[in-house]
Symmetry: C2
Subunit: 164 residues, 2 copies
């Protein structure tokens, strides 16, 4: 049905994964591959579809902020084979927690940003043709009780320099 063991050059893998050829060599150097990269005639790297699949996972994990050491650790665990699923699970769960925290922090920031956008739209007389929900989510009560109060002094005063 499908050739599982197609041989790919570094350039082809770069194309398919979105990583640069430099980055691919760098990743190899950093021990991020599960299995050693084979070499063809002339010492050139030969990759398989397995490698591309693994790299695809790597790219996604990197895109969500997993640092290279964690990625290396994960590669190590996978390389060792079955038996360490507990550790892999722990690693993934930790990353999952990091990502969800990241997302919720961004969502919080987005409250302020939306509010600012609303303020400027209003000050321009635009009524934001069909993009905003209702008026603007009140950023003074930003879903989680935080210490920062941007509602009163902050947002209001910050639109003009205090000399005005």
């Amino acid at each position: 049905m499908a050739e599982v063991a197609a041989s790919l050059s570094i350039g082809q893998v770069a194309e398919r994964t979105g990583l640069s050829v430099h980055a691919l060599r760098f990743y190899e150097h950093e021990g991020l591959f599960v299995n050693p990269v084979r070499r063809g005639p002339g010492g050139r790297r030969v990759y398989s579809q397995h490698d591309v699949d693994w790299l695809t996972v790597c790219v996604i994990l990197r895109a969500s902020g997993m640092p290279l050491p964690a990625l290396r650790r994960y590669a190590d665990l996978v390389r060792q084979g079955a038996g360490n699923e507990g550790e892999r699970l722990a690693l993934m769960r930790e990353h999952q927690a990091n990502v969800t925290t990241q997302i919720s922090k961004l969502a919080e920031s987005l409250d302020l940003i939306r509010f600012k956008v609303g303020v400027y739209e209003d000050s321009l007389g635009l009524d934001s043709a069909g993009d905003r929900q209702c008026h603007a989510p009140a950023p003074s009560a930003p879903s989680h009780p935080t210490e920062i109060r941007i509602g009163h002094a902050g947002v209001g005063l910050m639109n003009t320099p205090p000399g005005g």
Copy 2:
């Protein structure tokens, strides 16, 4: 009701904003303040509540990934005073777009991560005591049609080294 013009030392501002004193001096050097920081006896910096409010905004924008040059541009606009709301709006809208893209990319990555977590939980015989929704959101159809297919070869094969 409230003292609007309280004088704060750099240390106090660091405490209130979460920025380090180093970072505060650095921000000043980089032109990120709306109004020039006053100096007290002995040349020491004197901050007002206005500064703290502005910095609070800065911290949130930074936390959502706005680079310092954009922050500086924004400070410039605010410093110039009324009349450039259009530019401020554009800047904020662009950042808003960046943040929402960021969030949705993270959410996409989270699909894979959750899937992996599910795989390892299953392989350990855990049935994930009350955390997962149902089984796992299918990561092979990740909300937007992307080029990467992690559903078939990827996730499945990557749990064991190819030598197994």
